[in-house]
Point group: C2
Chain length 117, copies 2
DNA sequence: CTGTATCCTTGGCGATACTG
DNA sequence: CAGTATCGCCAAGGATACAG
């Protein structure tokens, strides 16, 4: 059953250019995954440790989405206990760099706020 | 009543540096507000029109938060029907620039994805 | 080890009505 | 015009258990 009250799930494409793009880094843990992957190749449990508090479910979802978006690469190594390694693509590294700029500005704003208030 | 089951609202400050920063641009319409404000000073209803679909409540919340974060400025003009003008601070413009970089990368990734799939 | 499936809670956000 | 207050829905995401 669809159950639409008015017209909820309406994606007006005009103003959504930005939203489509911010969707790339939206969601809990997304930025964190990119951040920790920037430090180098990591396997699943390592990431889960790094992100301290993320559930396996969310980590999987985020990694799948980022892989699909071309931000991270998945590499299965057929070792005795098979492990999977994740790393950033070149675009992923670029994205991380751009994100870093945002973070810097955010930090500066936070400091300014702390001084001001 | 606080009602904690395990230890839900735990804000471990170590890994949360990034989250604190991404929090700045998180939430529906936040990026859009910054985006449209970048084009110049806008009043409340103009923004509401620009953002096509935002409720007054959310717009107010976003503007208040962005103002509090030092991203936007609020200026009340005591005209006959009093109007309020919003604009980006200098930091806000920087933030918008940084966001633009992210958007560019996101667009490129989207094109690559369209080609690849 | 690396996930996947299910259940359940929380709060983000839309809708609506009211105020100065 | 520029908000504020209240209600309610729904989806994001945490917890847990299970699978390859």
């Amino acid at each position: 059953m669809v159950k639409r009250r008015k017209s909820k799930v309406v994606p007006p494409p005009s103003t959504c250019l930005l939203r489509e793009c911010t969707r790339l880094i939206s969601g809990a843990w997304t930025a964190d995954v990119i951040w920790y992957l920037h430090e180098g190749e990591r396997c699943f449990t390592e990431l889960q440790t790094d992100l301290q508090g993320v559930s396996a479910k969310m980590l999987t979802i985020r990694l799948r989405k980022l892989e699909q978006d071309g931000v991270v690469q998945r590499l299965t190594k057929l070792t005795a206990p098979p492990t999977v390694w994740y790393s950033l693509t070149s675009a992923g590294h670029e994205l991380c760099g751009a994100l870093t700029n945002v973070v810097e500005i955010a930090q500066r704003l936070k400091r300014a706020q702390a001084v001001g208030a």
